[in-house]
């Protein structure tokens, strides 16, 4: 009996060492339960489907660009350049949008209110906007001065006139939600008005700046 106990203990020691060795990837899969394996298979299939879609769309794009002739490619590139310029604020833009006016008789509207308004308009799909004579772009900043707000270094005095390009319905509704820009302006003692326009012309631009350190990626030649 004692011997058998010893043999069993020996087996235990042996199995302990065998079971605690770090498993190689194939062994790890062999140890997994069926439900885990099914989930793994599911994930892999989904990933494969997504990558397949990506591959197809990239192939189509390559097809389009290589089979088009030079003029079409140039036109495509120009289209991209125009839309990027509008988004970057270096080109004027026209289109449906809204004109929003914030009057501030008590001089109580601060930069935060204007910044909030810009964020809300962006969230509602405004893609080009200007306040008074300053184009609002990615790095526009707002600061307070007595009696006025400084927008990217340019002093803006009330009433603040926003010209925003985008879907007029969505923009106007977004401004009027409870707790939105309209409410904030009125709470701060200002007067808020918004009007849909079929054509809004944003003519303010920002100058194109050359970067000090960044360089464009060299084209493969």
């Amino acid at each position: 009996m004692q011997l058998i106990a010893a043999v069993l203990a020996g087996l235990l020691g042996f199995a302990l060492i065998a079971a605690t060795r770090p498993p190689s990837p194939e062994v790890a899969l062999a140890k997994a339960r069926e439900s885990d394996l099914v989930q793994l298979l599911d994930d892999l299939s989904q990933r494969q489907a997504r990558l397949e879609q990506d591959r197809l769309s990239l192939q189509a794009a390559e097809q389009r660009l290589t089979s088009a002739d030079d003029e079409q490619r140039l036109a495509e590139a120009r289209r991209r350049a125009t839309s990027l310029a509008v988004l970057a604020g270096t080109a004027p833009a026209q289109g449906p949008g809204i004109q929003m006016t914030i009057a501030d008789p008590g001089h109580k509207i601060e930069s935060t209110v204007l910044l909030d308004a810009v964020q809300e308009l962006r969230d509602a799909g405004g893609y080009a906007m200007s306040i008074n004579t300053t184009r609002v772009v990615v790095d526009t900043w707002f600061a307070d001065k007595t009696g006025a707000v400084v927008i990217s270094g340019v002093q803006a005095t009330p009433p603040y006139v926003f010209l925003v390009l985008g879907d007029p319905q969505t923009l106007a509704t977004a401004l009027q939600i409870p707790g939105g820009v309209a409410d904030t302006v009125r709470t701060n003692g200002g007067r808020f008005s918004v009007a849909d326009r079929d054509v809004v012309s944003v003519s303010a631009v920002v100058p194109l700046r050359t970067p000090t350190f960044a360089e464009p990626v060299p084209s493969p030649s």
Partner: protein, 110 residues
């Protein structure tokens, strides 16, 4: 005492031979090892209480391992493999802890 020597010899052999576990045994080995450890702790506690019996130890060892393996197999067949193995491990760990506590009290009177 001979059993302790046997355990050490088994560990040494395991380190020396670096065994690979056969595929069909893979899911059951960890649970079987935990069940065997529980039996060993029970044996040590019995030893310290002077009620150690070889036959009881051997039977409890084998039955623990068999029952643990059977439960895991049954769980896999029923589709609740993960839950059953968790339950088995929890119960075995509880028993290991209570045996270890008794051993500790006996050894260190604390």
């Amino acid at each position: 005492m001979i059993a302790a020597i046997g355990l050490v010899i088994g560990i040494v052999l395991g380190i020396v031979f670096q065994p690979g576990v056969p595929l069909w045994l893979q899911p059951y080995l960890p649970i079987a090892v935990v069940a065997a450890i529980d039996a060993v702790f029970g044996g040590v506690r019995a030893l310290l209480d002077d009620v150690f019996d070889d036959r009881v130890f051997v039977v409890s060892f084998l039955s623990n391992v068999m029952i643990a393996g059977l439960l895991v197999f049954l769980g896999d067949q029923l589709g609740v493999g993960g839950q059953i193995s968790t339950g088995v491990v929890v119960v075995l760990a509880m028993r290991i802890f209570s045996n270890a506590a008794a051993i500790r009290r006996r050894l260190f009177h604390a």
